[in-house]
Symmetry: D2
Subunit: 380 residues, 4 copies
């Protein structure tokens, strides 16, 4: 089971990189995004550093100079190459990084039959960690391609036309609900401890806001009316000149993984910041759900998770659950230290690997972030 | 009653400005702070624009050119002088601003006997608004003085030595609690609607962290250990070179309203960012309370509000309460539009006017802010 | 003679400050400009530090804490208050700075009868230094006032209408000419050594470009045609959104020391950057003169110096003359260390004190500077 | 002759790129530098746009979308991809750019036999233009490699040990000298018109300053003594933390095209800014030569041009020669528009293609530039 998860996860990363040239795989278009090659190497470094070195006797580090290149943000694991300069690493080459992956995969295969519980837990964590980077790999290469005037397509196939169900308000009676991961499967530390919360009655939409609905907001002057916006949001609109979602082009078409395509009015709107999500909700006479409302409602009949469409901004900032304690050591530098200045998103997206997300899953990004597959579900 | 509140409030602003020269009153040391003169004028503009113009027939605006100078951030009330340039308004002079105050005060006196409920509610709001600016007037002039190598004292009297009670953990049993403003007195819109929340059992400190305790944190290397810090906090420590609270000097003394004074180990530590508050709590094996815990605990026997000492950072981001709706029109641009990117502080401070704060009062600042009288109360 | 120069110079600074309030005198609207109060204090510090301390036995420094506040850029004279924060010095007050001036003036009066040649030379230098600051005092307060939406007038009198002579090209035959200060009177070190230079024949305009002529350039699309501009100039046009000279208002009027006035077509155009001066010249089928051409031509019959109108950008960068050596010690940190990245201006301006400029005088500013009284004389 | 120049030039660019991977060829480490792939494409675009389109009937543009990608700064030739984003062009691939080169080379071969004088002059210009980019290709890839902690070597061969001749001062008697390109061969427009200049007598060093001599300057505290520096230079030292030349490592070794090598005391010091060159000269009791002195002296017996070592900063800013007029049209946007804010360098460097430089050649860079092979020759 773990063997299969590991095999499939490692293979999927390579599959995602397959349509890309060596040059594509090196692109870093902003400090917040990383090159494909770096994602491939960093996820490998994670296994090497947190699994193999402590648990596989005689494991030999692939290259002593690389940990500094591929450590992301673990202060406890030594100095790191500056994040905004990841795109300057033409060496090691993509081929060398693939050799690194094979080296580490082979060592993991050696370890697996003898791995104790600790090691197995870390391998499982490494798989879920790599799945997170699989999503980022896609969002990051899409952002990089969006900076090339040729607007290349990551996937040259033709996308299917979306079908949006009729919008409906689902009622939740409120009361005391259970929040957080409960079952026995894997979850990240930030999904727990499971605890109770008290909700007032509320309604939530069965589906995401569509591109067609968002066009109405634009046509109604949504980007020109300050009273619809949070103060920071309006400042961003003016400073960045926002007039539409991040990858909507001036001519009415939309850029995405399939390249430039006609706007699909029934598809969920994506590439929205939290600010835009809030302004849209205000304009629509509604609001964003809290992350607890979202989690409590997601089992309601008719609720389309949309976990293969777009992450859904919530009105909740990313904060620790009552009793939350990060794990000791480097592994603890994973989720807890980012618990300020970010908003929680729930659901999943077309870029999320199958089986990665859960109803208790807490994704998080700063409120101005627009390069994710992030959309809106309304509540009231 | 309202008459007296208005009189006292308007008089207190002038009293706070009394120790300052015309030159002092014009200082703006950063975009986030405003000159004393501007505070005196802006609070007056608030009454002129939101009370007198709609409610006093034949009211004559003092100077047609000034509303644009003294509107703070009300998008619905027209264009504004750029915030970072408030310190460049040598004209109007402080004397002219005082004449503006007298003009508006006289008109308010004319209005009061005939004021209907709406007008009276707006006058009350104007008083509480002005009280908020009284606190900012002090924090802002203190920041400005801290930028002058002569480190002038706002108040030349000698401060009293602090006495800190022994630290004790107060127990709260958790359960469903009422949150938000309940009584009939004045409260800001963001303190409501009153609603219920569910709390897990917790303990909270009877008093604030002292300067002496914070010195221990510094001496133990708190500013050099990244694992104690939130990621954004550690980035701030490194980018800004933080090594101690904002107004602690290298020689061990502390700058404040009384000028440079010896560090008082029993006094509450202040001028901390949220990041520092969190890092201290982590180091101390504790955490910050949520704003709901704070509010639920503040009536516990032994709980020192410390509302005349320092605001207390909470672990809660500033967000709308369930069912919150800002008022319609310009008055609604008051609290709601800032509900992202900020942390809630509770309590009050030595700079808060008497009678201004309440247990349900929600102050808020960005997590990096250090120029307020902001301290730490621990929970666990 | 020196006594009279000193008296008149010191008195003139105060006269220039007379129309300003304490608040006006503290304004600093950008890092490149300084408050009036600072100019008054810095010129006094110059006498105190470079004249009185070395030459008047038992001279007592007015305030030990002030030299650090009022040293401008003399690395050899100790640490300095950061330049962009000069506007934050509400203390010392303007009154205290005036007392400082009286203290230093009295000491200079004590010294003068006994002053040796060295001291007398330094006093003379101090006077010319103060005259330079008199011009800056005016350009800086004008910039500060331009940032106030009320656009206050420094001088409330009505300006005279300009009369521009007919434009004529004056011919110079070229050949070997003498450049640099020659006579026995005072000159700055950068005006020497006097030396010879070889010029090709050229023509130069008898007068400065007028506002009317510059309007034609604007109307012809001068600010929209990149081929007229130096590369750095075009970048500035785009980044800063330049569409007209610095103090020309959108409604066709012009802001200046007399406040807002109608554009005077015959007046010389001013508040131009070097980039604008070059673009205008290119459009006019001409060029800017070199500083040597300017100096060689300024005695030609019909050449209007315009030294009471506007400084004239030259095509020469500010560089040392052959054999130039700055004086030893702090006084040497005066002109030489700025000899890169600046263009030379010649002539003088309406803000230049009478008797301050000379034909050999070399003013210098970075090419993007627009807040000086800087205009254009054409050559070809 | 022209055929051979074209063939050799085009082939040399490819030879310079040969040691680089596709990933290396895409690196852009700062806005001032460009990727190798971009240099290969831009030089090709230059021929396509300025030679083939106007002179080869029926020439078919290789790809209509590319001119916008590979136009550098020619405002008259349409909109351009933003310079700092050249490193984001993973498409077109290096292979596609090579195909572009073949397409254009073939067309140039078609044109050459029938090319008129105009076309031949433009082809010659295109070759010299491409040679300039060959030097930049090397300086830019070196800068990019310097940002990779692995510090890869462009050239894996071992460099020869340098031999520095004894330093000697060569005397020039001054007088009227001829400056600028005179002969019949190719020269850039900025090397003319040839004209006369008057020089005072001076002495100039026979050779460049060595690394050993520069070490003495460092050891003597040169980077800590503000009085040695121009004001802008000292500001750069402090803001950038300069302590040694750009590619000197803390451990005493030096990074270069051959990777990390021991410091060679006899080799000329390189990777200096103009500011450092001036500070060194000041410390050595000398100065930099003007560009006219350099040109007048370069024929003196014993004068080592060092045109295969390092460009030599001069004390001259980059300005037009008397009578200079750029060519009409796009070709004129070549040299003239950069004539402000830059210092002239003379000589040539180890990265300059053979036969490219001349004694009248004027290279130019901003005074803070350090990524070129730029060194110092002293004068006095």
């Amino acid at each position: 089971m773990l063997t299969e998860l590991l095999r499939a996860t490692r293979a999927h990363s390579l599959a995602l990189a397959a349509p890309l040239s060596d040059e594509d795989a090196q692109l870093q278009s902003m400090a917040d995004a990383s090159p494909t090659k770096w994602h491939l190497a960093h996820t490998t470094w994670f296994f090497e550093t947190l699994v193999l070195l402590p648990h596989l006797p005689d494991y030999c580090v692939f290259d002593e100079r690389w940990p500094r290149l591929f450590n992301s943000y673990y202060e406890s694991l030594g100095p790191r190459h500056a994040r905004p300069q990841r795109g300057l690493l033409s060496r090691p080459s993509l081929d060398e990084v693939k050799a690194y992956r094979r080296h580490v995969d082979a060592a993991l295969a050696d370890l697996l039959p003898h791995a104790g519980d600790d090691a197995r837990r870390l391998i499982e964590l490494g798989c879920h960690h790599e799945q997170q980077h699989q999503e980022l790999l896609l969002t990051d290469i899409l952002h990089a391609f969006s900076c090339n005037p040729l607007l290349p397509a990551y996937d040259v196939s033709t996308p299917l036309k979306a079908v949006a169900p009729d919008q409906a308000w689902l009622k939740h009676a409120g009361g005391i609900v259970d929040i957080g991961h409960g079952g026995s499967g894997f979850a990240f530390d930030n999904e727990g401890p499971r605890h109770q919360a008290l909700l007032a009655p509320f309604e939530i939409s069965n589906r995401l806001v569509t591109c067609g609905e968002y066009e109405d907001f634009i046509d109604a002057g949504g980007y020109r009316e300050p009273l619809l916006w949070l103060s920071d949001g309006w400042a961003a609109v003016q400073a960045q000149g926002w007039q539409r979602p991040a990858y909507w082009l001036e001519d009415g078409s939309v850029f995405g993984l399939h390249g430039v395509q006609p706007l699909d009015a029934d598809a969920p709107v994506m590439q929205l910041s939290f600010y835009e999500a809030c302004a849209f909700a205000e304009w629509a006479g509604a609001r964003l759900p809290t992350e607890f409302e979202w989690e409590a409602a997601c089992g309601l009949p008719g609720f389309a998770l949309a976990a293969d469409q777009a992450w859904q901004w919530t009105r909740s900032s990313y904060a620790p659950y009552p009793g939350f304690k990060p794990a000791a050591g480097a592994v603890g530098e994973y989720n807890g230290k980012f618990m300020v200045g970010q908003q929680v998103l729930r659901g999943g997206s077309l870029a999320t690997p199958l089986g990665h997300a859960r109803p208790s899953y807490r994704n998080f990004f700063p409120p101005a972030a627009r390069w994710q597959f992030s959309g809106v579900r309304l509540a009231r």
